[in-house]
């Protein structure tokens, strides 16, 4: 048997619906026989009648409704059709869900699923990675699973967490990533994973870019360079300790993210490492992000816009030479 990243997300939701009466799924086209634009809820409406509900095209109200339901004891999962459309729900996510516990002492356990990241031909409004915006504001947990196993266990954990979780699932990984089976346990939220060990350079990454980093690590191994790859798993909380420990071993840091270059995860990681582990660094920490333009539609442009294994390898080699 083999199971994809997307199927893992579907299975996690099936399990959640099965095990916990408080769970329901709310989003555009998630219900009926359809099961979502990406089929992440395929079959669930039938299996769990009345608990997988189509919504109008009203992202603000989708999240607002979930907040209200959570206040009264439910555990809603909201599916955004694309992460990009969560811009419409941003006020509810940041200002309502994100502040609610602080204001009222009552947490709102909602999970907002964001199908994120670039794929060929998707263009400026169906490709975005918004984790940095959600992580910037207080009050939210922001998950960015990079593996089939994490996609599964982290979604289950997201719903268990009493605080609001923004769960960024990467669309490129939906079909590209397969595992043999689903795990029964995962690392706890907030713990990064050393996906590959190495002693010469630490590449910190998350979501789809972890796989580019791994490819580069493989590619450079024959050259005698041992690259350590750290998968952040969640960008908030961000596991500074694991990153620092890795940099302590390697002395070199490269951060790779698919999002826009100004601010964001890669800047945050570098700021933390330099503030707390400056003496550990043997060379200037570097980062690679997408370009500072909207995400292009044409595949030729898209593949030049996002960070590539080629670019990562080039920068890794330069860092290793320093």
């Amino acid at each position: 048997m083999s199971i994809t990243y997307l199927e893992a997300i579907r299975e996690a939701q099936a399990k959640l619906l099965r095990d916990d009466k408080r769970v329901f799924i709310y989003g555009q086209d998630v219900g009926g026989t359809f099961g979502g634009a990406f089929k992440a809820t395929k079959g669930l409406a039938k299996e769990f009648p009345g608990r997988v509900l189509n919504t109008p095209i009203s992202e603000d109200a989708m999240v607002g409704t979930a907040i209200g339901a959570a206040i009264e004891g439910m555990r809603p999962i909201v599916e955004m059709q694309f992460a990009d459309f969560s811009s419409i729900a941003l006020n509810q996510i940041l200002n309502n869900a994100g502040t609610h516990y602080w204001r009222t002492n009552m947490p709102v356990p909602i999970t907002v699923r964001l199908p994120s990241g670039g794929t060929k031909g998707s263009g400026p409004f169906h490709s975005q990675s918004m984790e940095s915006i959600y992580a910037h504001y207080p009050g939210l947990i922001v998950m960015t699973p990079a593996t089939v196993e994490d996609a599964y266990t982290m979604l289950i954990e997201a719903v268990a967490i009493d605080d609001p979780v923004v769960y960024c699932e990467h669309k490129y990984l939906y079909y590209h990533l397969k595992a043999d089976k689903l795990p029964t346990e995962g690392l706890p939220t907030g713990k990064a994973r050393i996906t590959r060990e190495g002693r010469d350079l630490t590449i910190v990454s998350y979501s789809a870019m972890v796989h580019e980093a791994l490819a580069v690590a493989e590619q450079l191994a024959p050259e005698g360079s041992e690259i350590e790859v750290v998968d952040l798993r969640s960008v908030k909380p961000l596991d500074t300790d694991t990153v620092l420990a890795s940099v302590a071993r390697t002395g070199r840091l490269l951060c790779v993210g698919e999002s826009f270059p100004w601010g964001g995860v890669t800047a945050e990681v570098i700021a933390r490492v330099t503030a707390e582990g400056f003496h550990l660094l043997d060379a200037a920490p570097q980062r690679i992000n997408a370009k500072d333009t909207p995400i292009p539609y044409h595949p030729n442009l898209w593949s030049a816009h996002r960070p590539s294994a080629k670019e990562i390898a080039r920068k890794a080699r330069a860092l290793l030479r320093e």
Binding site: T65, G68, N96, R103, P107, D162, P237
Partner: protein, 344 residues
Amino acid sequence: MLQTAQRQSKTKKPKTALPHERFLEAFRWMLLARTLEEKLVSLYRGGLITGGVYIGKGQEAVSVACGLFLKKGDIFAPLIRDQAGRSAFGEPLLDVTRTYLGSRLGPMRGRDGNIHRGRPQESQLAMVSHLGAMISVTVGALMSKRFKGEKGFVGLACIGEGGMQAGAFHEGMNIAAVEQVPLVIVATNNHYAYSTPNDREFACHDLVDRAIGYGFEGYSLDGTDLGACLEVIGGAVKRARAGRPPQLVVASVLRLSGHGEHDDASYVTEEIKREPFACDCLKVAEQTIADLKLVDGETLAEWRKEAATKVDEAIATAQQEAPPEGDKEDWCAISMRNLVDSPE
């Protein structure tokens, strides 16, 4: 305290409460709200309040009716001019004075202020400032109750005519109708959003005409007439509770204060002040009481005194309480401590 006593009596009361009793009960909440808010205003003028004071003067009749027909387990989403409704719903006076006076014991513990207070644990939602956002939250709370198998509940959310123009309001109203939850939206057109008059807010003839386009049942209301408020809003609550479609009530009043107490409202025209909807609902109600001889002047005076005493007590208590302190504060925005992120 008054509110506790009355809430109990309300639930104990036989179903066919005399309209006059209801009227008088409502009147006393209005009186309490007015007394409280006048006191807050004078504290504000004396520099004793940080942040803004936003009052519901002229809107107490509408507001009280919003709180009065809700029972324990119902959901209430009040806004900035709903002191009367909040009290009638059961909010302790201390919640108000503690919040305004910065006691660390208030429901928001100094973290949020003035009209933003709420107790979601007791189904009184704590508003965010962003107008319109609380409608869908109320819808969700009602869906939750339905999921849990509860019966006979209702939710009531307040909005101003200004907030009705926000996208969130539209999405919330529409999703309420799609989900067919027992929601009453009470919109108070007080003819201004801050300084902006109706003609720069919307261009329809009557905002109640919004109802049909969503599948709501819609009712208009003279918000200066307490009797009408009780009848129309009470009716809407009853219909929603009975399973009718969501209800929209649009009340017409004039805001009889500045937007907040920092605002002299000099933009309010003399012309509009002469409109019938510019009456003071409290005075109108008092006149009704006198005309119908519902209670005598002595009783009224006693009620007034009672309200003043309660307000003074609540203020005195809050004033003696310690404020929150930065170095003792729990600076943590999430409930699960093991998941706290700690960037510099």
